[in-house]
């Protein structure tokens, strides 16, 4: 279980401090598909980075399968960071332009010393992930500028999955892609979710997509204490802040 409790994150701005995330709580079970929707500028991406252990919150706590996170970013152990992986919105800005697609996919393993020493084993590993995301062998030899946006996002997905994460956070994974590529990526994610009990948090502008693909969808405003009406029944508040536990419920509208 990936859980966040009362996460608050603020940024410094010329006009003072901007509260990006205000006491947001959520729970993502393994094997579950959760949608998180909300307009631009409501802190969805900030929350995603906190959950992926990339960005330290001002206050609040994150717990992954019972391990409470004390430090974020490079100070956090690789083993913990590998448990939660993030796929970003813009693939072109999220890969090293000097790495061929194949090398980019294996980069997380290389960076953490987990890459198989044997070249044949490396090829087989790469081949299996490439097949899973639908990339052909000749594409793995290309540089990012030589492939399309959709092909690059497939590589980014393989790169996130190669460390065998327990939780995957997709931050606007497909808003720049055509619907067929979007459907293909989601099909790949769904297969891994079922086989490896991957917990998936799908962050999107697209309410229709979240409602159809996810088992439960929350509006980002519902995650924070501030987003809930104080006169709402306590039980309802408890339920929305722990929406991830309610597996089969389709959607929650703003209270």
């Amino acid at each position: 279980m990936l859980s966040a409790e009362a996460i608050t994150k603020t940024y410094r701005a010329a006009s003072g401090r901007v509260v990006a995330v205000d006491r947001a709580s959520l729970v993502l079970e393994r094997g579950a598909r959760l949608g998180l929707v909300g307009p631009s500028g409501t802190g969805k991406s900030t929350l995603a980075q906190v959950l992926a252990l990339l960005l330290a919150p001002d206050s609040g706590s994150v717990t992954i399968d019972g391990d409470r996170i004390g430090v974020w970013g490079v100070r956090c152990s690789r083993e913990l960071r590998h448990r939660v992986q993030l796929v970003f919105q813009a693939p072109r800005m999220s890969v090293d332009p000097r790495l061929r697609l194949g090398d980019a996919i294996l980069e997380p393993l290389a960076a953490s010393g987990l890459l198989p020493g044997d070249a044949g084993e490396r090829r087989a590993l790469l081949g299996s992930w490439a097949a899973q995301v639908g990339l052909t062998a000749d594409l793995l030899e290309r540089f990012p500028h030589e492939v399309s946006e959709g092909q690059l996002q497939r590589a980014c997905l393989a790169r996130a999955l190669v460390v065998r994460p327990r939780y995957l956070i997709c931050d606007e994974l497909s808003s720049m892609l055509d619907v067929s590529t979007q459907a293909a990526l989601l099909e790949t994610i769904a297969a891994v979710q079922r086989e490896q009990a991957l917990g998936v948090l799908l962050i999107t502008h697209d309410r229709v997509l979240a409602d159809t693909w996810c088992e439960a969808t929350a509006d980002v405003g519902e995650l924070s204490v501030a987003g809930q009406r104080q006169d709402a029944p306590a039980a309802a508040r408890e339920r929305t802040s722990n929406f991830g536990r309610l597996r089969r419920r389709r959607t929650f509208r703003s209270v």
């Binding site: 639908g134 067929s180 979007q182 459907a183 502008h205 229709v208 159809t212």
Partner: protein, 313 residues
């Protein structure tokens, strides 16, 4: 504002290390004054190349053939000086990302007036025209003009670039992915603003991969696949019953329909097949599909479809 855009047999190839990248193959389409044409396709299908070819924004390593006429002007034959007079005044671009196409270190007023003056207006005329255009879009030049681009919301930025595109009273406005990265409220606003452009009498060419936006805008739709127009016809007819198998499978991939991806990937643009480019992924393929490239065949709905299913047998 009354010239017809005629694109005929327009082909664009990029010379690269890996050979010729055939980005657009023999595209022919006409846009009447006051008409809306949507250009839809996945990334790499040639839609942005089509727009950039019309605006002559393509890089040097490119081979262009065919013809593009706007009224009595041959756009592909214009000299640099003629191009400067044409861009902005006869054709205008609504760029993909408003925030990154405006100068971040200058206040908007100066930028807008400068842009309007480059389109031949006097200082006073430019201010007057901008004031009118922005007012129509619900903005005040005196307020917006004193701000930097980052001080405006996404919707306001979009309106500013729309006003900028209209300031030279162009015959045709080209909007490149006007909604990418916008949330649904802003998509609604942008769609309304785009329709407004057409209502003012200009032709509008919208390039998008967003099928829901396309359905909302209406007009006519050109569907591109692997550098060719594979379907061309009324947008409403496309969403009701697409004539090309690619269009049909694409609509099935929408999450609210079946969310089912089309198997495989589109072919490499360096090695396009000498037969139907969609044949390998097409559930309806038959012998003829792997023999030659189909023509655009007319359909009863008024659409054209590049598919042998619709050829007279």
């Amino acid at each position: 504002m009354s010239a017809r855009l005629e694109v005929e047999d327009l082909s664009v190839g990029f010379r690269t290390r890996r050979g010729i990248v055939q980005a657009l193959t023999q595209a022919s389409v006409t846009v009447q004054p006051g008409e809306l044409l949507l250009v839809v396709g996945e990334s790499g299908s040639g839609k942005t190349v089509l727009a950039h070819a019309l605006l002559r924004l393509l890089p040097r390593n490119v081979d262009v053939s065919g013809s593009v006429r706007l009224g009595d002007q041959d756009l592909l034959a214009l000299s640099p000086a003629e191009l400067r007079r044409t861009r902005g005044r006869r054709m205008a671009l609504v760029p993909q990302s408003p925030a990154s196409s405006l100068n971040p270190v200058r206040k908007l007023g100066g930028q807008l007036v400068e842009g309007a003056r480059a389109r031949g207006l006097s200082e006073a005329g430019a201010r007057k025209r901008l004031r009118e255009l922005l007012a129509e879009l619900g903005l005040d030049l005196d307020v917006v003009g004193g701000r930097y681009v980052h001080q405006l919301s996404g919707g306001m930025q979009q309106r500013v670039v729309n006003a900028m595109a209209l300031v030279g009273e162009p015959d045709i406005v080209i909007a490149d992915e006007p909604t990418s990265g916008l949330d649904s409220d802003l998509v609604d606003t942008t769609a309304a603003q785009l329709r407004e452009i057409v209502a003012r009498g200009a032709s509008l060419l919208v390039i998008t991969h967003d099928l829901r936006l396309a359905a909302r805008l209406g007009g006519r739709l050109a569907l591109l696949y692997a550098s060719r127009i594979v379907e061309l016809g009324p947008t409403a007819a496309f969403f009701e019953a697409p004539a090309h198998p690619y269009g049909r499978e694409l609509l099935r991939a929408l999450p609210e329909r079946e969310g089912k991806p089309i198997p495989g990937m589109s072919p490499q643009l360096t090695a396009l097949p000498a037969h139907c480019a969609f044949a390998d992924r097409c559930p309806d393929r038959f012998d003829r599909c792997s023999e030659s490239v189909p023509e655009l065949y007319p359909r009863p709905s008024g659409a054209l479809a590049r598919c042998f299913l619709h050829a007279e047998r």
